[in-house]
Symmetry: C2
DNA sequence: TATTGTTATACTCTATAACTATA
DNA sequence: TATAGTTATAGAGTATAACAATA
């Protein structure tokens, strides 16, 4: 049976980390992601688009008449999970589902003027939040980080 | 009203990305995190410890007699959320809650032999999964990535 | 008054499976 | 048979608020 070998860490003591955990890419990725995500929410507030809704809108604006299935693929999520996101965007008047002549199964996504404006405005806020949060990273460091993250993203499942 | 300006993206066409999305750190962080997290689960299987449970065990092993409140702080989660994680670890015989003489409020976490062994075995599996998944990153690139992620992590809320 | 562990509760994000209407 | 959109459902993961015991 394992015996306690050290005294309990008092609350006042500065927080230590598990050394082997700190060397793992996955752990650092998760923790860093939480930092950025929390700051995003704080910066955009309650009325703002959530990260995933903003991502969906960005792609819908960049590729008008996109299919929901294609958008889900681009986002790396299931078709079923996209429904609520599109519901929200349509409810807010940012885009609309339209039927496509020639294939009555699909619902093409058409960005509306309000959606294009919301996208532009939100993008500016997101950029401002990242610039502020990451101001202690140089431009080269930010480029390097994105380059390395994209290298990991090459393993995204293509399904 | 916005008019469709391009033809619908056919399923066969290679997936495009929204350029401005691809330049955001947060978006790339999220997508890369999903890649690593999915590969972790695939590598460790159904019986394996989840990332958060492994992280909790790692810290409990590194700091015997740790308090639940301190552990929650280290993990960056709420005390309440840690309860289920410790329940799981205790149920699996990997650690035990023990009362501390001098403060009967706290439940010190004592790693058991099985817990130390499970930690060692899981760490080996996690390292193997990361080495395999990230084999296209050089050692310098991996070090750089961890360095940059830690720079972001400096903004972790100290609560 | 403040803190520790706990419970209850709810919300976000995501996945799986099954359905319908089309193709 | 296969695909697009949808619904129902469930499971992580996390947060907030409150509580009892203790400091």
């Amino acid at each position: 049976m394992a015996k306690p070998t050290r005294a309990r860490l008092p609350t006042s003591e500065p927080l230590k980390m598990a050394p082997e955990l700190e060397e793992l890419i996955g752990y650092n990725l998760k923790r860093a992601y939480v930092v950025v995500q929390k700051d995003y929410r704080a910066a955009l507030g309650d009325g703002g688009l959530s990260p995933r809704t903003f991502a969906a809108l960005s792609l819908a604006v960049a590729y008008p008449n996109l299919t929901q299935s294609n958008l889900a693929r681009m986002l790396g999520i299931e078709r079923s999970g996209l429904v609520a996101i599109i519901d929200e965007l349509e409810r807010d008047g940012l885009l609309k589902r339209t039927t496509v002549p020639g294939d009555r199964r699909v619902q093409a996504l058409v960005p509306l003027e309000a959606g294009i404006a919301a996208h532009r405005a939100t993008l500016a806020k997101v950029k401002a939040h990242e610039d502020k949060l990451l101001e202690d990273l140089s431009d080269v460091e930010k480029e390097t980080l994105i380059f390395l993250l994209r290298k990991i993203r090459r393993h995204e499942t293509e399904s």
